[in-house]
């Protein structure tokens, strides 16, 4: 039976973390494979640690579509990082929350006493998503290879049609819900409709996301970002999807991408397809003492919730409400929020839902509305719309950045949350001792 207060049963510390810049996919495979990104994120982090890579008890990464030669990518990253043969590693998959799931698994492992020191994070190189053969083509190939005689070969050849060569884009498959048949953009349209979110509101939110990220880059408020170098030595050290020159007028000109032609959700107010990775060191109290580790934050509790896949974007509302309830916190107790921006419409719908008495009563089983999350405390350095949403990495990124924000602002309490394709939500509460 779960502990009634739903806290991790022993202290779980977030020691430090790094991430790569999030690099916008430009219509072709980007310069880095999944594992390369994971290694860049973790290597410089490990340099700062007073212990050796071999001293981890386990390595856990979230990733939704690592390459065909990257099965159990966490193990590949662990080995290539120099963790040695003897550190076990596994990969977790909870769609858009895979990175947060990795942190939760690490936290549970530490809380249970199984591990003291865990490397956890998330990795996604969406630009590397493969083109697949259509199943009909796969069948044709099987017939071809199976044909023994020349006659049989000719027969199989006769069944060939160029249409068989049309590829299946794995990325699009991954971003379409197989149960309700809606793609992720359409689920955002769905909840925008439900809460009456307007195109202007979405575009305004998107614009601010870009401006906030740009400002943060100018002010050096993303210290967790480490530079990466491609095969020609070109350096990438900033999230490159940011558009400081974005305006409402420009955004207003974009056409709907999912519900054509009448929809409201456009590429401009949706998260970008990007490549990126984040890595965090997590530790038990014993490990903190043993290695004299700094503490960035403490992971207090994590909540997972599920809802209709057609309204997956409201997932954060479903996770945040019980999280606050179990921890006896009000919205006003939370200093900073990171809610992943899959879509501007989706974040706005979450805020609306949490502030909607009827929704909270009927859907979340509460007596009153959860409350209004102030925009000036939400995603203060931008989010998925401006810096992208490399699916498996985002969950780790928002928790890491939230901890950095608490540190920068000398604040104590933060909630990171995201919506999850397939109709789920996740939320994590972190705390920090203020100085």
């Amino acid at each position: 039976m779960a502990a009634t207060n739903k806290k991790y049963s022993k202290p779980v510390y977030l020691v430090d973390g790094n991430r790569t810049p999030f690099l916008k996919a430009r219509g072709r495979p980007g310069p880095f494979k999944h594992a390369d990104l994971g290694i860049y994120a973790a290597r410089s982090l490990l340099l700062r640690m007073p212990f050796a890579a071999t001293e981890f008890d386990e390595v856990i990464f979230g990733s939704t579509m690592p390459g065909p030669d990257e099965a159990n990518i966490a193990r590949i990253v662990a080995l290539r990082l120099g963790c040695g043969d003897q550190v076990p590693a596994y990969t977790v998959h909870r769609n858009c929350a895979s990175g947060m799931q990795a942190l939760d698994n690490a936290a549970m492992s530490i809380a249970s006493g199984r591990s003291d020191l865990v490397l956890a994070g998330g990795i996604e190189a969406m630009s590397q998503a493969p083109l697949l053969f259509h199943p009909k083509m796969v069948n044709w190939l099987a017939d071809w290879w199976g044909a023994k005689s020349i006659g049989q070969k000719f027969k199989v050849l006769g069944g060939f049609s160029p249409r068989l060569l049309a590829p299946v884009i794995a990325l699009l498959k991954g971003l379409t819900d197989p149960v309700v048949g809606l793609n992720m953009g359409q689920t955002a349209e769905q909840i925008a409709y439900r809460f009456g979110i307007t195109r202007d509101q979405m575009d305004q939110f998107a614009l601010e996301s870009h401006l906030k990220l740009h400002q943060a880059q100018q002010d050096n408020e993303l210290p967790e970002v480490v530079p990466v170098f491609d095969s020609r030595g070109k350096v990438y050290h900033l999230d490159d999807g940011v558009r400081p020159d974005s305006t409402l007028e420009k955004l207003a000109k974009l056409r709907p991408a999912f519900d054509k032609p009448y929809g409201l959700v456009t590429p401009g107010n949706s998260a970008q397809i990007t490549d990126g990775a984040a890595a965090l060191v997590m530790a038990s109290e014993a490990a903190v003492k043993k290695h004299d580790l700094p503490i960035l934050a403490r992971l207090v509790s994590t909540e997972w919730a599920a809802l209709s896949p057609a309204e997956m974007g409201l997932g954060p509302a479903h996770a945040i409400a019980p999280l606050l309830k179990s921890q006896r916190l009000k919205v006003s107790d939370i200093d900073y929020w990171e809610i992943n921006e899959a879509f501007a419409a989706q974040v706005l719908a979450v805020l609306a839902a949490l502030n909607d008495k009827d929704y909270c009563k009927q859907q979340l089983g509460l007596r009153s509305a959860v409350g209004e999350i102030p925009l000036e405390r939400l995603n203060i350095h931008g989010g998925g719309v401006s810096l992208g949403h490399p699916v498996g990495a985002s969950g780790a990124r928002i928790v890491l950045h939230l901890a950095k924000v608490l540190q920068q602002k000398n604040a104590s309490t933060g909630v990171a949350s995201l919506c999850i394709g397939g109709g789920q939500g996740g939320a994590m509460l972190i705390e920090r001792s203020t100085s």
Binding site: V226, F229, R232, G233
Partner: protein, 676 residues
């Protein structure tokens, strides 16, 4: 004549296979000494009386199969006749192996070189271990000779001549899988399968390796001559015939006698008997021994670094970092901002692409090379190498910052070439941990590294710096801290003389030709252009302050007008796609005098360095100049060369030059030490 058999062990297994294991007494490396061959001869007498089902040759050593012939025995040969007897004895023995009635297999694990490869080629089959340590080659050309135990004949009759000749001309060693690809070995197998593979081949012999069709075509009489002619032209670009006759001899023997094995075998023997008598072979063997000496300096086991931190990602720092990562070290590379690391990462990946065959290996090397703007690697490093621009204050600031963060016992090294280490050490709390590890450009190509010690460097620091250099596969040369150390110091007067000649109106083509005719890999003018005239100028200024070497006008003029050599497309020469445009009709002037003026300056400075004890002895001096500058290896180094020429007459001519050309040719005091 039955030898006592001590180096070979024979053992028959249940299948009737006779395992002949070479495990030479009192050494950890097998070589084919006369005694080893004679013992094998006796064994073959017994075997011929009662042949086994099959024979497998293998080594009893952990390190390798057979490293080659016994080079020391070469040096004892005093006449062509004697050499011929020695060669023929080997040929006869290997032919006996070839004509044994049972299948023969060479099981090759680890190094297999020269005579070892020839023995393997005399077997019916070769099975090699497919691992990182196995290397198979015919490197005789590096000692100025070529295979003569039938190796030239057998290699060119089995393998496509493009490939068999290439490995003999370059002396390049192959991995098992590369050897398999060209047909030099029949099987390349991992350790877990190798014995089974050898046994299987021995018991159920497959078809023997035969020449591929294209190879047969290329070996046809007319085509053969054309191909040999073409290959000679290729060789001439790197090794002129007058200095390096061996590769030409390979091509001549092949082109003239291929197809008639018996005759070719005789000519192969005659050719090497002729070559071995020249002084060049002796000098090259000397170079080999000098290399062995440098490789043996220090105690590699005394220091086992795993992490290197390099500060400064310029060409030198970046290339040093990449080299260390290539050699298996974890490397952190620090510079002020990410953009300064760009070029280093680009060059590193070019290096890995060139040196490493698989994507997996390249990824692994790249994984080991970590960008480190914040310098976090300092605290983890066993060796910290500072390779920033030559500025005392900047270096001092770095040392003050990093010293408190360094691990106890970690080595602090500087790659400076012009700032005295004593000056750099003043800001250190523990000045005894500072040592110079001076690399040469381009790092990947230059085998030598100067290990610079000061009066305050601790014995341990120097030992560790030497051990580190061994670990990264470079040759350490311990030198005293003194302006220019050894290599730049000796090179500079030679370069300055070239500039002086230029100022006097001598064509750069004439200057360079005199030097390359002497045996230098590149003329001094082209060398200066390649290094960069600004860099030459700064080194020259530094050294002229210390040694009063005059600075020629030409250099300053070029630098002032931003003509910096190859990198700016214009220097002493104009450059077209990175190649100097040379005037074929340039007036060559008095080549002998030009050559003497260049070489005397170098030799004289070498004598001065000996006197000052920059290195501890003549051999190290020769080693440093050969491996640090490429000084004509077949001349055995400046000291060896001077002794060969006769020091007395050399000094006399130099005095003569002093009257003619000036005081700079005044014979150094060190000459009396050279003859000691």
């Amino acid at each position: 004549m039955s030898e006592t058999i001590v180096d070979w062990q024979s053992h028959s297994d249940d299948d009737g296979i006779l395992w002949l294991t070479l495990d030479q007494q009192d050494t950890d490396t097998n070589v084919l000494s006369i005694s080893v061959l004679e013992q094998l001869d006796s064994l073959l007498d017994e075997i011929n009386n009662k042949p086994p089902t099959a024979i497998i040759f293998r080594s009893g050593k952990a390190k390798g199969f057979i490293a080659g012939a016994d080079i020391n025995e070469f040096l004892e040969v005093t006449s062509t006749q004697e050499a011929l007897i020695m060669i023929k004895r080997g040929q006869t023995l290997f032919s006996r192996i070839e004509s044994l009635p049972c299948p023969t297999v060479a099981l090759i694990e680890g190094f297999c070189m020269g005579g070892g490869t020839e023995l393997a080629l005399a077997c019916d089959y070769r099975v090699a271990l497919d691992d990182a340590g196995t290397r198979i080659g015919l490197p005789e050309v590096k000692l100025g000779i070529h295979p003569a135990y039938g190796g030239l004949v057998r290699a060119t009759s089995m393998i496509n001549p493009l490939q068999s000749l290439e490995i003999m001309l370059s002396g390049r060693a192959l991995t098992a899988s590369a050897a398999r690809a060209i047909g030099l070995v029949d099987k390349a197998q991992p350790k877990r399968q190798i014995e089974r593979a050898a046994r299987n081949v021995a018991l159920t012999p497959p078809d023997r390796q035969s020449m591929p069709f294209i190879g047969k075509v290329l070996s046809l009489p007319g085509i053969r001559n054309l191909l040999a002619g073409y290959m000679k032209k290729q060789v001439a670009k790197k090794a002129p015939r007058q200095h390096y006759p061996a590769p030409y001899a390979i091509l001549d023997v092949w082109a003239s006698f291929y197809g008639n094995d018996k005759r070719m075998m005789e000519e192969e023997a005659n050719s090497v008997a002729r070559l071995i008598q020249g002084s060049k072979v002796r000098s090259l063997i000397r170079v080999f021994f000098l290399q062995t000496r440098l490789k043996g300096l220090g105690d590699k086991k005394s220091f086992n670094p795993s992490h290197v931190h390099v500060i400064g990602a310029g060409t030198m720092g970046g290339d040093i970092a990449a080299w260390c990562a290539l050699r298996g070290f974890n490397v952190t590379l620090q510079d002020r901002e990410a953009k300064y690391l760009s070029n280093a990462f680009k060059r590193a990946q070019q290096l890995f692409g060139k040196r490493l065959k698989t994507t997996r290996e390249r990824n692994a090397a790249l994984d080991r090379l970590i960008p480190d703007i914040d310098g976090d690697g300092v605290a983890r490093a066993d060796v910290v190498i500072e390779a920033i621009f030559e500025d005392i204050d900047a270096k001092h600031a770095i040392y003050k910052d990093i010293e408190p963060r360094m691990k106890p016992g970690a080595v602090l090294a500087t790659n400076t070439s012009s700032i005295p280490l004593e000056t750099l050490a003043t800001v250190l709390k523990e000045p005894d941990r500072l040592v110079g590890i001076h690399f040469f450009n381009p790092v990947a190509m230059m085998p030598l590294v100067e290990i610079v010690r000061t009066a305050s460097s601790s014995e341990e620091t120097v030992e560790h710096a030497i051990a580190f250099t061994q670990h990264i596969g470079k040759l350490p040369l311990p030198v005293k801290s003194s302006p220019g150390f050894l290599v730049n110091r000796i090179l500079m007067p030679y370069l300055v003389e070239a500039f002086t000649l230029y100022d006097e109106g001598v064509a750069p083509e004439a200057i360079d030709k005199a030097a390359t005719d002497f045996g230098m890999p590149m003329g001094p003018v082209e060398l200066a252009d390649t290094v960069g005239l600004d860099i030459c100028q700064s080194v020259a200024q530094n050294l002229s302050a210390a040694y009063g070497i005059g600075l020629p006008e030409a250099l300053n003029r070029f630098v002032n007008s931003k003509q910096l050599g190859k990198k700016s497309g214009r220097g002493f020469y104009n450059y077209d796609k990175g190649k100097p445009v040379k005037d074929k009709d340039a007036d060559l002037g008095d080549q002998k005098t030009i050559q003497n003026r260049l070489v005397f300056r170098l030799l004289n400075e070498a004598a001065a360095c000996l006197k000052e004890g920059i290195v501890t002895d003549k051999d190290l001096l020769d080693a440093g100049i050969i491996f640090g500058t490429g000084f004509a290896p077949f001349r055995g180094g400046p000291m060896h060369h001077s002794l060969q020429e006769g020091v007395e007459s050399l000094v006399a001519t130099m005095s003569d030059y002093e009257t003619k050309f000036g005081e700079r040719f005044h014979p150094a005091e060190g000459w009396s030490l050279v003859t000691e």
